[in-house]
């Protein structure tokens, strides 16, 4: 896996713990690459230095990276997908756990397992 255990993983979760940073990631996912100013403009209620700070945290966690435009005149932010893909892998444990449980639910429904109200019909009263 591409993330070393330790400080970098910690930075990853610190980065995700903040709702503004999650919104920045979401914004980048849909509109990247974006200049810092363009990102800040989407958060009018936040100060520009505040947004810069969030971007720094995201960069430190390697969740975003700065790329230079082809003419090298400006730098824009884009998502670095690797850490998020690794997180998806972590959540896959839960995904497959629940897949298995839904399989069981589906099988039980197909097998006509008695429901609470259906108990009686399984044991019909003798005439």
């Amino acid at each position: 896996m591409s993330i070393a255990a330790g400080p970098r993983t910690s930075a990853l979760f610190d980065a995700l713990a903040d709702p503004t940073r999650r919104r920045i990631l979401d914004l980048l996912r849909r509109h990247q690459p974006l200049r810092a100013g363009e990102i800040a403009a989407r958060f009018p209620s936040r100060s520009r230095p505040g947004i810069s700070r969030h971007l720094r945290v995201l960069r430190r966690a390697a969740m975003v990276r700065l790329v230079a435009s082809s003419d090298r005149r400006e730098r824009r932010y884009e998502i670095n997908p690797a850490p998020l893909q690794d997180l998806d892998g972590w959540l896959d444990r839960y995904r497959s756990f629940w897949e298995g449980k839904l399989d069981a639910l589906e099988q039980a429904a197909a097998a006509g397992e008695p429901d609470q109200g259906g108990q009686k019909s399984k044991y019909p009263a003798k005439p």
């Binding site: 069981a104 639910l105 429904a109 429901d115």
Partner: protein, 151 residues
């Protein structure tokens, strides 16, 4: 990566060919739950307790929670706090939200397990690294299997 990540969650949806009343009776009754979730202690009511044990490879943990929504044939929500043997329980719960929607003769069952981003960073990190360690072992086994196939 087209998913929104306002929250870190797992979302599943599937259509089961049985009406919502039938699904609900399995999904949310104390007896029914044994058929799909396994041995469970569960009180089918708002505020009721739910607990069960999960065995996942070498990991064994206890899950406990509380029913946060109980709306017959519509939705069952409960919190999910893990407590792995030898560890403290998660200080913050995640939440499982199951909803039912009639779909022709069948039912659309939607399951969302949400709130992983709310776990304190050190717990999430521990979990995540535990997962990576497990993954590492699987990688080794997969590589070994691939070698054997080639041989």
């Amino acid at each position: 990566m087209e998913k929104r990540r306002e929250a870190m969650q797992v979302a599943l949806e599937r259509r089961i060919p049985a009406p919502p009343a039938k699904i609900w009776s399995l999904l949310a009754s104390a007896d029914g739950m044994k058929h799909w979730l396994g041995p469970t202690i569960y009180e089918p009511r708002l505020g009721g307790a739910i607990t069960f044990d999960v065995q996942e490879g070498e990991r064994r943990f206890h899950m406990f929670g509380e029913v946060t929504r109980f709306e017959p044939e519509v939705a069952l929500h409960f919190t999910w706090t893990e407590h792995e043997a030898g560890d403290e329980p998660w200080p913050t719960p995640t939440e499982v939200q199951i909803s039912l929607q009639a779909d022709g003769e069948g039912t659309l069952v939607r399951l969302v397990h949400t709130g992983f981003e709310q776990l304190p960073a050190e717990i999430a990190q521990q979990e995540f690294e535990g997962y990576q360690a497990g993954w590492g072992r699987r990688d080794v086994l997969a590589a070994l299997a691939a070698l054997l196939e080639q041989g």
